[in-house]
Structure formats: C-alpha cells, structure tokens
C-alpha cells in the first residue's frame, strides 16, 4: 500500500456509501458551475456561424453528449472488467449505475442531432456513419440494461451484464468501421458532415467546458445511483439497519 493508504477500504459498499454521499454535492456543484460557464461561452462569447447562423449553437450540447456517451460506455466496460477480474461487488454496481446515464446522454446526442440536422441538412435523420453508430451504441446500452433487468439473482445479473458490456466494447470499433465503410459506399445524397471550415477556438473551448460539465454530472448521477443500488442490495445487512436507526 502506498503511504499506508488502503484503497481496498473503499471497495466495501458500506464505506463507499458514505464516501459517495460526501462527494456527490461537490460533483453536482462542479457540474452546475461548468455548465453555467459553458452556456455563457456558447450563447454570448461564441460568434454566430456564417453558414449555419444561430442553429449551430446546439453543438455545445450535442458534441459533449456524444463524447460522454462513448466515454461512459468504455468506463462501464472497465468497471465490468475490474469486477470480473477481482470479483468486487462494488465494481459491478458502478457499471450498472453508469448505464442509464450513458443511455440518456446517447439519447440526448441523437435527439439534438436530429434538431440540428433539420435546419442544416433539411432532414431530421440521415444514415450518416456517426449517427448510425451512435444509434447502435444506444441499442448496446439498452441491451445491457434489459439483460440486467431480466435477471433476478443480483450476482448473475452483475456478471452477465459485465460480460455483455465487454463483448460490446470489443465490438464497438468493428461496428464503427463497418458503418463508416457502409456509409461511404452507399452515400447517395451529397450531405457533407464537415463543420464550418475553421472552427473558432472559442467554440472548441465552449464544447470542452460543456463536456467537463457533462462528465461531472455523469459522475454525480452515477454515484447517487450507486448509493441506491448499495442500499437495495444491502438492505438486510447490519450497517444499513444501524444507519437507519441513527437517522431516525
């Protein structure tokens, strides 16, 4: 152990429950501050795009949501792998706690993509490589959640979900490239996905700040969800009973 600090202490749901409870307000706070800053950049500092006028401003929601949706899937699979490798219950709980947030962000990115596509391309949906792979990612999240929901035994649900998350993460690059090549061969209408020729630095900054906000929000939401999962799973244990007594 480095400096005598025991990391494994927090692998126990009971200690993690209190730690998460203390951390959540900080992450929510960071998310709120970053979101306010990001929206300020998005609406007041970023210039109007000369091609897409004001409509492009939805990228400040759309792109961070899309980034985070992919990132969360990887994090989820990483927790699943840690859980399978070290047999730590908390890792599985983290994976299941992340899935709804990831699915929500995937949905947000699809939805805002549709809203953005209508004024810019004149269509709510095009079978573009990125849109299609994002849609498939959404299906992967749904599959993960549906599998866990269908299994009553939490131990089996944990491990089965972890395995399908890992299988999914191996497949994501294959799916992405197949969809990309499929798209380049089938491209009928000449819809170009390239954004404005040179993206102003301020736009990139805005997107990064919003992505950080989404990241902080995702951590906070996952931690609150993991607390609920811990309580649900450990409802018959002594420490939960003691905590409830102390609160009553």
């Amino acid at each position: 152990m480095m400096n005598g600090f025991n990391w494994y202490k927090y692998a126990s749901p009971a200690t993690f429950y209190t730690l998460a409870g203390r951390l959540i307000p900080w992450f929510y706070g960071a998310a709120a501050v970053l979101c306010a800053a990001g929206l300020y950049i998005a609406f007041f500092l970023a210039p109007t795009d000369f091609q897409q006028s004001e409509a492009y401003r939805i990228i400040f929601i759309h792109v961070p949501a899309a980034w985070m949706s992919m990132f969360i899937y990887i994090v989820m699979a990483a927790w699943a792998a840690i859980g399978l490798a070290f047999n730590t219950r908390l890792s599985f709980m983290m994976a299941s706690a992340l899935a709804p947030t990831g699915a929500m962000l995937t949905f947000v990115s699809l939805w805002t993509g549709a809203l953005w596509g209508k004024p810019t391309w004149g269509a709510w949906w095009v079978w573009d490589a990125r849109l299609t792979s994002e849609l498939i990612l959404f299906f992967l999240y749904l599959g993960f959640m549906a599998l866990q929901a269908a299994i009553d035994d939490p131990r089996r649900a944990d491990r089965a979900g972890a395995l399908i998350a890992l299988v999914g993460v191996v497949n994501v690059p294959i799916i992405y490239f197949s969809v990309k090549w499929w798209n380049t061969l089938h491209q009928g209408a000449s819809i170009s996905m390239t954004k404005a020729p040179s993206m102003a630095a301020i736009m990139l900054e805005g997107m990064l700040v919003m992505a950080l906000a989404a990241w902080m929000y995702a951590i906070a939401a996952a931690l609150s969800r993991v607390r609920s999962i811990i309580l649900e799973r450990e409802r018959n244990s002594q420490w939960v009973a003691q905590m409830m007594e102390a609160e009553a």
Binding site: I136, L147, A150, A160, L163, V167, G168, I174, I175, L185
Partner: protein
C-alpha cells in the same frame, strides 16, 4: 480434442435429425420473411434487384437469431449442460462443437435456399455466387456471436426477445459486409474487399467467442 468436438457434433446432429420440425421452421421463417419484402415495397424489378442482397441477409440474420434458443436451452433444462461443465474437458472444446453443429443445422440450410430467393429478387449469376459465398463466411459468425447471447439468457423470462436485443446490434458488421459484398458484385465494384473482411471477422469470432460463451455459461449455471 478433435475427438470430443466430433462426439459433440454427432450427438447434436442426431438430436436435430430427431426433431426435424425445428430445422424446417427456421428455414420457412427465412423464406417467408424474404417474401414479405416485395409485398411491402412493391413488385418493381429494378428496386427488388437493388434490395435483394440486403433483404436475404436481413432475413438470414432474423432466422439465425430465432434458432438460437435451441443452442443450449434443452441441455440446460435436462441438466446435460451442468454435466458438460463438470467434465475435465475445457468447455471451449465442446462449445465449439455445439456451435458448429448449430451452424450445420440452422446456417447451412439457409445458404442452400438463399440462391432461390436471390433468383426471385432478380439477382444476376455472379451476384448469386457472391451471396452464397458471403453467407458461407457470415452465417458461422451469426452462430458464434449468437451463442454468447443464448448462453447469457439461459432460463430467463422472455429470453427470446432479450436475445434479439443483445445479439442484433452485434450482428450489424456481418450484415453490412455480407450485403455489401452482394452489392459490390452487382455494381461491378467487386466483392473481394467485403468478403475478405467477412473472413477476418469469422476468424476473429471463431477464436474469441467460444471463450466468451464459456464464461457466459459459467455465469448462467452457477
């Protein structure tokens, strides 16, 4: 090792021959789904020729998915699966045998019928050949990947619908390269690139999925 694969293979084939109805159901499902498309989109030969490869491939995907229930369910119900896991043989070996048998029983009939469907859609001779080759390379992948879903959903409520949710997104690359190969042959671009990619996916799936299936079965049986 090969002997074990052989024994498992023979056992599965005998079991399948005793319940021929199951095999035929999947085959007819495949034919019916493919026949629904012209009824849905209209009989325009030009449109149908464009769609043919994709329609046959989508139907094959659905049929393969439908047959997954058979892969482990009956062995799970009567306890054979548990006994197999308890044997000293590495699970990967007999799992490979079972998947191979599943492909022979549910994949190969589709490949044999596909040219007839292709003719109905007006595919040219070369496109038909490519269709068969692409199915030959692609349907084993469907059995391999599907086995993971089948193993994970063993004994669950609504396992059939759940398996489709888990497995269909993972089938997408096979669909794209399979239908793309037929498309390439029709448009004169050539099908080699798609077929090579399908082949590489097959090799990758053949190496990796039995391990995932073995892990999934352990999780489900425990």
């Amino acid at each position: 090792m090969l002997q074990i694969v052989n024994v498992v293979l023979r056992r599965e084939l005998i079991l399948a021959m005793r319940r021929r109805g199951d095999v035929l159901t999947v085959l007819f499902f495949f034919v019916i789904v493919a026949s629904l498309f012209p009824l849905g989109v209209g009989p325009d030969p030009k449109l149908l020729r464009l769609m043919g490869g994709g329609v046959v491939w989508v139907s094959a995907l659905l049929a393969a998915m439908l047959s997954l229930g058979r892969l482990f369910a009956s062995d799970y119900a009567d306890g054979t699966l548990e006994q197999l896991i308890l044997t000293p043989t590495p699970p990967v070996v007999w799992i490979t045998g079972k998947i191979l048998a599943h492909w022979l029983v549910s994949g190969v009939p589709l490949i044999l019928v596909a040219p007839i469907l292709g003719v109905q859609f007006g595919l040219s001779g070369e496109a038909l050949l490519v269709l068969v080759v692409s199915l030959l390379l692609g349907t084993p992948v469907l059995s391999l990947i599907g086995a993971i879903g089948a193993a994970l959903t063993l004994g669950l409520r609504g396992g059939g619908v759940l398996v489709s949710l888990l497995v269909l997104p993972l089938y997408i690359p096979v669909l794209i390269f399979g239908a793309g190969a037929v498309d390439g042959a029709m448009s004169g671009l050539g099908a080699e690139a798609h077929l090579s990619l399908l082949g590489s996916i097959l090799i990758l799936a053949f190496i990796l999925t039995p391990w995932a299936v073995s892990a999934a079965l352990r999780i489900s049986i425990e």
